[in-house]
């Protein structure tokens, strides 16, 4: 954990331009990641978690143009402004991806063996036969029974949990140094979520990979992340080691998120504690701290100026809150 970071993100800002609108889902995000380390990016839907990780690598849906500025250094290579060729050579080979919905992320018309093997064939420069053997190993590695039969199956023949295992096998087929997992457990049954998360951690440890874990599930954060970055309206609200941020959140938004987790001593039938209000609409101009309208601790000056990310009383934790910073 003392080595140079393999991923250095600095002042990453992304504007999305569609045919009709221009929005800024990511606004000045900075973080670093070392080998073997896991960073969880947490936030509500639409807070910019996914775009933060996918847009710099050229992975945006068709028809959406992402204007990326700032800097993303991956092993010394600048990704912002890099051409598609450079980005493509990194995808799959050095950076693996896992998507939220394993039901739609796999190709329904192709055998899963091929879908895994092609990554190995492309990036490891091995023969199709060797790639198939590699796919078999990977299927075993992600803990699927009857691996030989699995190779020849199609996605629709597998359950959601198994499909996500296939997705994991695809993402690690070329032994990437960084794994980006976008809500890898969200679409799965609760009982399967823990298995998949454990599998991810195991594989990460075995391959000494860095991992960015995009999630809105504090349970996932607690179980898997070394550090956590809380995003609100495309901005970072709080960054710090998981155990510190979860136990003693500083930013009112983080407090609200953690407070919203149902507890065992909650009375049966009691109301959920949630954050009141709604996150700001994407594209609407924000004055001052974006969380002000929903914040229980806001004071008059909160809406005046955008709060910078500053070190808190604990030097390991940083937060962007006008009240804390004052």
């Amino acid at each position: 954990m003392t080595a140079e970071p393999i991923l250095i993100v600095k002042d990453l800002t992304i504007d999305l331009l569609t045919a009709h609108t221009a929005v800024r889902p990511v606004d000045s995000i900075s973080y670093q990641l070392r080998r073997g380390e896991t960073l969880a990016i947490v936030g509500e839907s639409g807070s910019g978690k996914t775009v933060t990780c996918f847009a710099p690598l050229g992975l945006m849906p068709v028809g959406v143009k992402a204007d990326v500025s700032g800097s993303v250094l991956f092993e010394g290579t600048e990704l912002v402004g890099a051409n598609e060729e450079t980005l493509r050579s990194l995808r799959g080979k050095s950076i693996g991806f896992i998507f939220q919905d394993p039901m739609s992320a796999l190709n329904p018309a192709r055998r899963i063996g091929h879908q895994i093997a092609e990554v190995a064939e492309l990036h490891l420069g091995i023969t199709p036969r060797a790639a198939e053997a590699r796919a078999l190993d990977l299927i075993k590695m992600v803990g699927m029974s009857d691996p030989n039969a699995r190779l020849k199956q199609y996605p629709h023949e597998l359950s959601g949990g198994l499909r996500q295992r296939v997705m994991i096998a695809i993402s690690i087929a070329a032994e990437p140094k960084l794994l980006v997992a976008d809500e890898p457990t969200t679409a799965l049954d609760v009982t399967v979520q823990a298995q998949i998360l454990r599998l991810l951690k195991e594989i990460q440890a075995r391959m000494d990979m860095a991992m960015v874990l995009i999630t809105h599930d504090m349970g996932v954060v607690a179980g898997a992340a070394d550090r956590v970055l809380v995003m609100y309206a495309g901005r970072q609200a709080e960054v710090g080691p998981t155990e510190k941020v979860l136990v003693a959140p500083r930013h009112p938004y983080t407090m609200g998120l953690i407070d919203a987790i149902p507890r065992r001593d909650d009375a049966i039938g009691s109301r959920f504690r949630g954050l009141s209000g709604l996150p700001p609409i994407l594209g609407a101009p924000i004055k001052g701290c974006a969380f002000t309208p929903r914040c229980r601790h806001s004071v008059e000056g909160c809406g005046a100026q955008r709060p910078p990310l500053r070190t808190t009383a604990d030097p390991a934790v940083m937060a962007a809150c006008p009240v804390l910073n004052a």
Partner: protein
């Protein structure tokens, strides 16, 4: 899979029977009387008695059910009756013309298949760029131009102007090219849009994002990830288009003076020659039914979700 094919075959036979009933009903209830036409052919001043005599000869005065039963019996044995007009054996006439129409439709289908894939691929590879727009223009033009006009243009260009190909006739491969192009052009235009739109659709799917996250090239994603997913839709459309080509043959055959089924059918309709019309319809319907079964099997083979379900 075999069970599935057997079931389809059984349904096809049932369908054929129903179609033959419908066909018979339609043909006999169509206005016009062949007996009058024949009687007038013999003596221009035919009387009611003359007409009755003709009806007697041809068995047209028998009850409909009996006529149908008689015809079906013969058809099952391969005897499709005698042409009212020429006295020829209808079966023999069909056989001699079947190969002509089969040559036309098969060639047209190949033209439609190759052209549509070519145009569709070009559009998909250069999506939303100049080649795509040019191909889209060609497709629009092709889909909205009637085949007799396309045929005339082709004849003008290749035969009259450049003297490359014969203007008409059925005499070896050189004389087949223009009819094939004429018949295949419109279906090619329609199918190229199916390919292009299918690719557009498929390329917006989450599994394509996955494929891109693997670092695969755009071209490889098009062919390896998107293509297998549009194959069932394409086969379905191809089947429909080949079906309509049989109808197109009725127009294209006279254009190039080919003596095919279309030509026979048209002559039969004009003369109210039930036996010929009925036999032609039966051939067309049989072709449609077989085509349907083949397309269904093709779709089942290309869509793994259906394959398991039906095996």
């Amino acid at each position: 899979m075999l069970v599935f094919i057997a079931k389809r075959a059984r349904n096809a036979v049932l369908l054929l029977f129903l179609a033959s009933v419908l066909c018979f009903t339609l043909v006999v209830s169509a206005p016009g009387n062949v007996a009058i036409l024949i009687a007038e052919l013999r003596t221009p001043t035919a009387t009611k008695e003359d007409i009755a005599k003709v009806e007697e000869e041809l068995g047209l005065n028998k009850p409909l059910l009996e006529r149908y039963g008689f015809w079906l019996q013969g058809a099952l044995k391969g005897n499709l009756g005698i042409s009212y007009k020429t006295g020829e054996d209808v079966g023999a006439a069909l056989r001699s013309r079947l190969s002509v129409t089969a040559t036309l439709v098969a060639g047209g289908a190949v033209v439609a298949f190759v052209l549509s894939l070519l145009v569709g691929f070009i559009g998909a590879l250069w999506a939303h760029r100049m080649p795509d727009y040019i191909m889209r223009g060609i497709a629009l033009l092709g889909a909205s131009t009637p085949s007799f006009f396309v045929g005339a243009l082709l004849v003008y260009a290749f035969s009259v102007n450049w003297h490359l190909l014969p203007t008409f006739g059925f005499s070896g491969p050189a004389s087949w090219v223009l009819p094939w192009l004429t018949l295949g052009f419109l279906p090619a235009a329609v199918l190229s849009r199916v390919v292009r739109v299918g690719f557009e659709d498929a390329m917006a799917k989450p599994y394509v994002l996955t494929a891109r996250s693997k670092g695969l090239s755009q071209t490889r994603i098009l062919f390896r990830d998107a293509l297998p997913n549009i194959a069932p839709t394409y086969l379905n459309a191809l089947g429909t288009q080949i079906g309509t080509m049989v109808v197109g043959a009725v127009v294209v055959e006279p254009l190039f003076a080919w003596q095919g089924l279309g030509d026979l059918f048209l002559a039969g309709v004009r003369f109210r020659d039930f036996m010929v019309v009925q036999a032609c319809l039966l051939v067309f319907i049989t072709f449609f039914v077989i085509l349907n079964v083949v397309v269904d099997i093709g779709i089942t083979l290309t869509d793994p979700r259906l394959r398991r379900q039906r095996s």
